[in-house]
């Protein structure tokens, strides 16, 4: 639900960044989105169009790198990949997984001119 406000905030930040870094157009934006970031990739894509309209990123390509959710089982100690936060350890089927990756929501880089 907050994907549109995230995208609008990102564009505002990038408009400000453009002056400092000396670019006028953004051709591509790369985001890293973790599976546990609480953000829907499809909703981000959907919001990207309206959010960039009339901005220096209008027409830009949005590339989303999805980061898997990973962690360590509290019981068996295995390093595992999980699909959701509440899932028990896929290795032993029991333990609680301490999450170490997959909550990212990062603006990685831009292709600009």
């Amino acid at each position: 639900m907050h994907e549109l406000s995230l995208m609008e905030g990102m564009i505002e930040d990038l408009e400000a960044e453009a002056g400092k870094r000396g670019f006028a157009r953004i051709h591509r934006i790369r985001l890293e989105v973790g599976r546990l970031s609480g953000v829907e990739v499809e909703a981000l894509r959907f919001a990207f169009g309206p959010a960039t309209e009339g901005s220096l990123a209008e027409g830009a390509e949005l590339e989303i790198l999805e980061i898997p959710a990973t962690g360590t089982c509290q019981d068996c100690g295995a390093a595992v990949e999980i699909a959701a936060r509440f899932e028990p350890c896929p290795a032993c089927g029991e333990g609680f997984v301490i999450i170490s990756g997959g909550t990212e929501l990062r603006l990685k880089d831009l292709d600009v001119e």
Partner: protein
């Protein structure tokens, strides 16, 4: 013009990123590395709020739940019971109307209503301005009643000491599994409306099992804002949290 957050200024920066390269105007395309959280601006403002609160020794709690869980009634009853003991004020977040702030003021506490319009959550920017305007006294408690929503408030740090999630027994007992992000972000869960347990199908043990699967150290207090059942434990929690509130 806002002096703390820079709104109204054209030079908002991406916090924490050194702007040391990329200034030279080169023709053609180039890549600019940012490695910056999309929530960086909100997080930076939240850190400012947290510092502002710590300087005044104020405990701020971010109350999150679905609409209709009884947040406002819970606050009314908390204010009434702590009157004369702990100064308390409330920031109310709703899409529309000031009805909740009116109820809080009627209960005897200063309140400020934020209307988010289309927005589905409060953010640190709104709360920063609300704190300035509300100007709560040092050593007091500020309750931030977030927009009723179990999704978005999980992602937006407001600068609070802790998130408190309210779940009522008229909702599904599997809410913690359906909305894990919010339950994972909360320190305390208040299980509200327990006076209705005889009339609804709600398995408390199962619900708590789900909640602890998401966050094993989640504290849980069952209560009823309507009858006052369980309130002593909640008020004691609040007083302990206030004693432990960060001070700068």
């Amino acid at each position: 013009m806002c002096t703390t957050c820079g709104c109204g200024q054209a030079d908002l920066t991406l916090d924490g990123h050194p702007h040391t390269h990329g200034h030279e105007a080169r023709p053609g395309r180039r890549r600019v590395s940012l490695e910056q959280s999309l929530l960086a601006r909100n997080d930076a403002l939240a850190a400012q709020n947290r510092q502002w609160l710590a300087q005044r020794g104020i405990l701020a709690l971010n109350l999150v739940s679905s609409p209709g869980s009884g947040k406002t009634t819970l606050l009314e009853q908390t204010i009434l019971r702590l009157q004369g003991r702990i100064p308390m004020s409330v920031i109310e977040g709703d899409q529309q109307t000031s009805q909740d702030a009116d109820r809080i003021r009627a209960a005897g506490a200063p309140a400020l209503q934020i209307n988010t319009g289309k927005g589905c959550h409060l953010d640190a920017h709104m709360v920063g301005h609300a704190l300035e305007q509300l100007d709560p006294p040092a050593g007091s408690v500020v309750m931030i009643e977030n927009v009723g929503n179990l999704v978005c408030p999980a992602a937006f740090d407001l600068g609070e000491a802790a998130k408190v999630v309210i779940l009522s027994v008229t909702e599904g007992e599997d809410k913690p599994l359906k909305y894990p992000d919010l339950f994972a972000a909360a320190k305390l869960m208040l299980l509200n409306k327990v006076d209705l347990l005889p009339h609804v199908r709600f398995d408390v043990a199962r619900c708590l099992g789900y909640a602890h699967r998401i966050r094993p150290d989640l504290e849980v207090l069952p209560l009823s804002a309507q009858t006052g059942q369980g309130f002593e434990a909640w008020l004691a929690w609040l007083q302990a949290a206030r004693a432990l509130a960060p001070r700068a």
